[in-house]
Amino acid sequence: MINDALSSLTLAQTGFPDSVAGVTLAHYLSVSAAMFTLGVIGFITRRNLIVMFLCTELMFQAAGIALIAFGRYHLNFDGQTFVIFVLCIAAAEAAMGLALIVLLFRKAESLSAGEWKELQG
């Protein structure tokens, strides 16, 4: 049922080139899902803290794309507004995360997440 609804709708506005007019919500969500999955896989498989951090950014952006696509689809601005907030938070988080990584590197002389295993609690 959901699949039917998704495939029958287009996000293109009048006057868009034909090649773009065929892009539907499903396309955007597919890209978002692919990005998110890549992020997850990267986060789980890689040990380098910086790469893992980039993977979280990837997941962020995937969620952002989905939000904007839905916002456009429902014709309101909530999705886009929300993404602005997400970006702000992501920026702050990037600043803090990178600072932390720098400190962790200084302590362990390595970027591997495995160095911090003893924090198991």
Binding site: V40, R47, A113, G114, K117
Partner: protein, 761 residues
Amino acid sequence: MTTVPALAQATHEIAHAPAWALLILGLPILGVLQSMVCALLGVKSKAPAFLTVGCLAGAFVTTAALYSWFDPANGPAVVTAWEWFAIGDFTATFGLYIDTLTIFWMLFVTGLATLIALYASEYMSHDVGPGYCRFFFAFNLFVFSMACLVMGANLAMLYLGWEGVGLCSYLLIGYFYKKDSAVQAAKKAFIVNRIGDLGLALGLYLTFVHFGTIEYAELFGSAQLEGYIDLAMAGNYAAIPAQAQWIPILLMIGAFGKSAQFPLYVWLPDAMEGPTPVSALIHAATMVTAGVYLVARFYPVFLASEYALPIVAWTGTVTALLAATIGMAQFDIKRIMAYSTVSQLGYMFAGLGVLTPTGAGYHVLTHAFFKALLFLACGAVMHGFAGQLDLRKLSGLRRVKGWGIVTLGMFVGCINLAGIPFTAGYFSKDTILAEAFVTPGTAAIGWILLFTAGLTAYYTFRVFFRVFMGPVHYEPGDDLHDHADDHAHGEEHNHDAGEHGDEHDHGFHPHAPGWAINTVLATLAVCSLLASGLYIVGGKTLDLHGHDYKAKHYASTMIQQSTASFVTPYDHHGFEAAGIHHDDTATAETAADDHAEDTAHAAVVHGPYGDLAHPNTVLGMDPHKGMYYISAAFGLVGIVLAWWFHLAGRTTAAQCRMDAVARNFGPIPRWAEHKWYVDELYEKLFRGPLHLISNHVFRPFDKYIVDGLVNAIGWLPRIGASIIRPSQSGELQGYAAGMIVGLTILLFLILTVVISIGGGA
């Protein structure tokens, strides 16, 4: 027509007493607070003692004011402070029930407490500081509890006071808590009392179950109870429910515990480990009479039971004789006084049992004064001679300088206890003895008590002749403390030291009592002597149930207007109206119907002891008149024997003529000295088995079952944690994978639910 009036005030409306009567409870509480404050401030003076004396004197004055306010003609009065608690139908008020019995008791309780607090201010002076505050804390708390017990408006307040005095007794017996024997004695007193308290608690419950109330005002005014007494006086006990007849049996167990009656008397002699003022106030004059008070207060309930009063009478008699025989063979003068107290309490119960609450009440009053006096005199000796209490090591104190008032006080106490004619003890004991002969079926009790009176005179004067008369000789006890102020004791000492050179401790100087002890002893001696006047004055014609009753003396006036009122149908002196009434009824009924005559006849002469048509006599004399001579003779024989065996021809403190005589009795004196091995018997019968059960049943149960359960509960989280703990690996990827798996499952579940709902719709 019909019955003998048993309840004086049953028909009266309940009046309200003024609220200031509550001060009698409030002032001792103030005393408690001041001693706590003194303890917190670290007061190192006699301030807590004198503040206590002030508070208790205030309570005494309030009691006296209440006495003058109270008019017995209007019946009992109540003060309700607040509703204490209510559980379903069970309600108890925090209030006072005031009748002549209450006032009678409270007058001597507060009066004696004041005097003994003054005495204790000096007696406890070597403990000034925290111990002193602790002593007066418990002392005040005791007076408060005793006031609750005596003045309480219901059984719940009585129970509160009952437990309160038990607690204070425990605290004060164990006052010297570093001394093992004192701690053991305190525990013994508390535990033996618990046994009695169980009876009291059950009696309380049964009273509520049967009568539906524990408030005195409702209980003693109830038509139900009055109906029972009518039935009892008609000899028709079968018609009274068994439940009602069990109430007094249960209550008397409580009374026997608190008042040290056989078989629960064993704690009282050991209680002498406490400081002497405590022995005098709690274990002689006031607390131990709580049992007598309980029986007197519930006298109507006791009358309604076929067996209760005979049991009370015989228990009292057995206790009186047993304790007197033990007292004869002891050497510790305080122990002798303790056994004497047990014995005299036995007299009081016997008095209650042979239907003379008046005699019992009067004996409580006279005994309170003279026994407090005797104890305080013994205490002065103990205080002055470094804890020496052995009558074999003290002699001739009469002639030691500074001991005149103590000797005089002791002498007044002794003549009262021995029942020398015209002393208060003589009159009060005679009332009980005479009534034992008047009441049918109790002549045996009378003879046993008369014999005991002879023994009492003997052991009393044994103490007096040994300690205060004869050659001057003394040895200090073990508690030698610093006697900086040397009390010279005259020529006798030097002379005596020359005579008994080696035995005598040259360095020791007895410490003569100071003003506080002497004042109190003198006051109590005067009170003890004046108490005999109460046998002569204070008589009054009372209106009991429409009958004129001539109360012969003050105690009679007080007791007969309370719930303890009982006018024996056998008492042809006091209650002439009953006799006349009886004849009239009988004549009238004879004319009508012979059978009815029997019933009416029985109505007058039945009691718990069956029936009797004519008053009894003793040795062919009217008991009340004959007893004056008979008991005096028994007493004098006892004193003469004591004089012959313990004073005449005695040249040292340790030896007397009795020693040779005692050898002829074989092991009996030794058995008596060992208290007939009752403690050992209890050890074998109860303590030993209890220890065994505790060690072999309760201890393993406690260790393995109770502790095991608690430990198991402690182990549960540990075991659970050890299962979950490996999930915390410290691997960041592991956590992330867990999160993702969890989220996926959650998402899956949510979607399933959403779809199924959507599909359903």
